[in-house]
Symmetry: C2
Subunit: 438 residues, 2 copies
Amino acid sequence: MNRRAFHRHLLATLAAFTVPPRSLLAAAQSQDPRVNGDRLGGHLRELARFGRNDLGGITRVAYSDEDREARAYVMELMRAAELDVRVDTAGNIIGRRSGRDATLPPLMTGSHTDSVPEGGNYDGQVGSLGAIEVAHTLAEAGIALRHPLEVVIFQNEENGKVGAKAMRGEDPAHYLDLMTHSGRTVRDGIAFIGGDPARVREAQRAPGSIAACVELHIEQGAMLETAAIDIGVVQGIVGIKRWNVVVDGFANHAGTTPMDRRQDALLAAARLIDAVHRIARALPGRHVATVGVVRAEPGAPNVIPGRATLTLEIRDLEMTTIDALHDRMLAAATDIGSETGTRFELTQIYRTEPASADARVQDIIEAAAGRLGHTTLRLPSGAGHDAQEIAQLAPMGMIFVPSRGGISHSAEEYSAPTWITNGANVLLHTLLALDRAL
Amino acid sequence: MNRRAFHRHLLATLAAFTVPPRSLLAAAQSQDPRVNGDRLGGHLRELARFGRNDLGGITRVAYSDEDREARAYVMELMRAAELDVRVDTAGNIIGRRSGRDATLPPLMTGSHTDSVPEGGNYDGQVGSLGAIEVAHTLAEAGIALRHPLEVVIFQNEENGKVGAKAMRGEDPAHYLDLMTHSGRTVRDGIAFIGGDPARVREAQRAPGSIAACVELHIEQGAMLETAAIDIGVVQGIVGIKRWNVVVDGFANHAGTTPMDRRQDALLAAARLIDAVHRIARALPGRHVATVGVVRAEPGAPNVIPGRATLTLEIRDLEMTTIDALHDRMLAAATDIGSETGTRFELTQIYRTEPASADARVQDIIEAAAGRLGHTTLRLPSGAGHDAQEIAQLAPMGMIFVPSRGGISHSAEEYSAPTWITNGANVLLHTLLALDRAL
């Protein structure tokens, strides 16, 4: 039954019975609940106050004062939603609602409230406050799930998914000493937000100890908005490989070295950047390849660059596609090196495995959205998310809502209130369905 | 008569006469003098001690302690060459040898002894010590020119041809407050090396007050070495225009933005870099075009660059050629902008007029080299030189000697002792011929 059908049904019921409408509404809500979109919108506006910047977005990097203040606000909202709140040793905020069967593992939902420097008001925040709104709705409707429910605000998503990695069991030596945008190391940052860096391993969850994890998030692409589709059912989170590329030519005087005697490392780098784009576009699929950083040395207007360095990043749901693209780009680099008298060296510097969304969870999200009258599209997530870490512990799914122009990590980030409410309702009904099915 | 012919002639003369060989040598030297190449080589090796770096080159930036020490050494050499030494208010070292006719303006020759950071042992130094060696040879041979001779060590060539500009009459407000690699401003630097920044205008020479100016220099290209030619007769010093190029696209998430929805400023910049090279090579001529600096913003491996900035430099003997190349590159930028959804903006940031070498001075250099048995090639100077400033006051010429691989501004800079001796002899005979002709 979609929402309009439900309302018609409700009016018919009201006409047929003499019981007071208020109790009838509560009864309907307990059977087929809906989130309070106005309340959710209000909470998002309130949250946007913490770290607001001149651009109308936020700068609320993990472990900053603004981050800690926003977390305090979020914990208030959790308590208002009748959740039992704690901060785990890794600094994740966990709001728990008991289930009817204490032997069952929890259903998990949540996202993050930290931002990039000069970020927007939706990335992470929609999924965080959406999850709290779902818990609030369950509490108001008096719905007791079979499973416990855990709403998690994962700490420091933007600077390395630290909280989610700690929960997944990443070796703390890999992240505790990293410096963050806050000016604090992760270690000091965890202490600053109420965790315990010395006991961070205690935040780890065992595989199988979570029934399922569903994260609501803005799309950060423009596929849903462009196709005017309400809900994205995420197929998985792409794998990523990154390389440092060093091009060695020969630095020389830009005035005295004839054009046909140059070994211009930047010219070679420029041809590779073009080749990366052409090779990626020539292969059908949803993979992406990006050069985001470039530098020429010595870097003077009157010196032919002897060295150029750049980054190459390729993302896809399949590592084999990433490797095939890389091989073609490497072959192009070799040809360009021959043409230009330069030499390319690629060094892999980063690798993230793709995380598949659970097939059954995808089906349940799609069915829940359909029942609520929403159109859906299955799509990969090109961005990393907290849920991809939890995918190693539990069946994982993600619900995407459209974002205008696909803009993210910017003050211009925007998702309409209706889109957000739709997403939160799909999250609510996905959790209800998972609670029945698992 | 070339050198070998001269020696045959000398031996024949020695065999025919009974006068002591020593005085006969002196007599021959006074008629057809030669520089002392061994002495010149020794002085170059000594000079290389000041500011020597680990690479085997020198770091002797203008106004550093090393610069000042090297200048003191050079002044000793000048005195040994019987020159009257003074430092003008701009800090140029001027060694003067009187002429027979006190009413004539001086012939000028010289170069610079400052270097770029991590420079080599030949750029500037060959022309400086070569000029002193010429004066020393004249003194030893007892040759009195009609014109006075001024050997000038121009101060701070590498960081803006400051000394030569002061002599030409550049407004001191344009350079006195500039910061230099020494950590001193030009103002403080001039005081440091014995000039008087408050009276720097007094270093200015009037147009017509110099009979001619000839500078000996290493080629800094590989044209002479590649063609195995002894002496380059410089046609002129190229004009230069430089632009800042800003490419505006749209920064976006490198994971979530499909390849066909990007406005990648770095991709557009890369295509322009390639186009600059192709356009320059497509037009016949000795012009050069270079992109030496590039930056992508925000500059992260996982963000599609929203902005790229680069420099474009074009050099040629004709400003019209520079402008024609620029127009073609601008047209290419417009096309690339349309293809990539980006916008280019070029802002001219630097312009130097070309300086033609005087036709008569070129002929005299060529004739002097030919008479000494050396092969010659007329060629433009792609690099700037002190002499180009003096070209606005007097007939100017430059003598190039080969440099290995065209490498300059590097410890690997190298010109063989024979090449340098050849150049100094051509300078000597050019000055002798100019002294007769002017």
